[in-house]
Symmetry: C2
């Protein structure tokens, strides 16, 4: 089972890794990290770099197309190479999996029209404006499309997808493997419960990160061709 | 605030990324990924590679020493270069943070003697035999040492550490930023509740992965010097 995880400049690493940590353990899983160019792809914090060792031209089809989000997702919404890649792979994928505002990129590719999806708290309006019906769930399935809320929700959504693919016993085994019995030290029930001033801080921080990354002149690590 | 995340061949990516996704958003955080050699470090699944863009000799001291685990942690327990690096940084670190069986590496470095810690479910006996008092908690603090249970517990432990460092308001803001309002599709309360036959599957899988990785002749991506 081929799993193709899309990477792009300014992605959020936990968006990609949370679901990878689950789906990568499915029996027969073969995961590849794919980007427009084979290189070390820099994340939103500009400190983390992940190897994209396949480029778009090397992936003709896949079983699971996995699209993470991050502040760098915005420019991908008008990157025709990325949108064409998503459309092409989605056509024959068994599953298409979108995390956080990765769902917004899927929507920009035009494949979510009339679909019921969830997404990052801050991307709900944008995704709806692109023709999807947005619900405030942690994860959501519509046919072969599985979408999740922001960042860490990719773990929950991937466990749900793992159960669809391989059954409850295997999904629970993976849950044990990653010891996913979450117990945060404090919690609101959901993003909807967090007070407005905390939302304001996040919006400002995400804007600042995007700005910083678009202007970054000195990546912390080399970005060689692989 | 300098945060130094250790990487090594066969690490588990979510061990490193879960806490990074939290601590990297602390005000003033400067995260670096450090390994014995500057390269793309391969994870336990052999599909994921992260850039280690500093080597041991380049890090004289740090504010937070962050040690993840993974099947590749075992060989690090007798890698004198890694153990000496940990001892040296721990001496002046403000915090030392161990995730999963990364705690076992800290124990092998001799810095957990008499300390109360938690760790990966399967590393409890080993860590205890190295002189620590092991408790079955999701995360645990003893002085400047914060340890967590397996893999995804690094997220919970990092949120706890974020609150210690920057206060509850900022920690809760980060929790919103990563939308960490977990809701797995099914759950035992903890690893202790999972039935024995599921534990057996994990132990077998982790052994097989370690075996495969130690014999891997063809990494999926190049491992260039950076």
């Amino acid at each position: 089972m081929r799993i193709s995880v899309l990477l792009f400049d300014g992605f959020t690493m936990l968006d990609a890794v949370g679901g990878y940590a689950v789906l990568g353990w499915l029996p027969g899983a073969e995961v590849e990290f794919v980007a427009e160019r084979k290189t070390i792809v820099a994340d939103d914090l500009r400190s983390g770099g992940m190897a994209a060792w396949r480029d778009y031209s090397e992936v003709e089809s896949t079983d699971i197309l996995y699209v993470p989000g991050g502040p760098g997702g915005r420019p991908q919404m008008t990157n025709e190479a990325t949108l064409a890649f998503i459309r092409r792979l989605h056509e024959t994928s068994t599953w298409t999996f979108g995390v956080c505002n990765g769902v917004e990129i899927l929507a920009a590719a035009g494949i979510l029209k009339g679909k019921t999806v969830t997404t990052n708290y801050y991307a709900r309006e944008s995704v709806a404006s692109l023709g999807a019906h947005v619900v405030p769930d942690r994860y959501r399935r519509d046919g072969k499309i599985v979408t999740t809320a922001g960042v860490s929700a990719g773990i929950d959504g991937a466990l749900y997808l793992a159960r669809l693919i391989a059954g409850e016993e295997i999904a629970k085994t993976i849950q044990l493997g990653i010891e996913y019995y979450p117990h945060p030290p404090f919690s609101y029930g959901s993003a909807d419960d967090a007070p407005a001033h905390i939302h304001d801080i996040i919006r400002a921080a995400e804007g600042a990160t995007l700005e910083a990354q678009m202007n970054a002149k000195d990546p912390r690590f080399l970005q060689p061709s692989l």
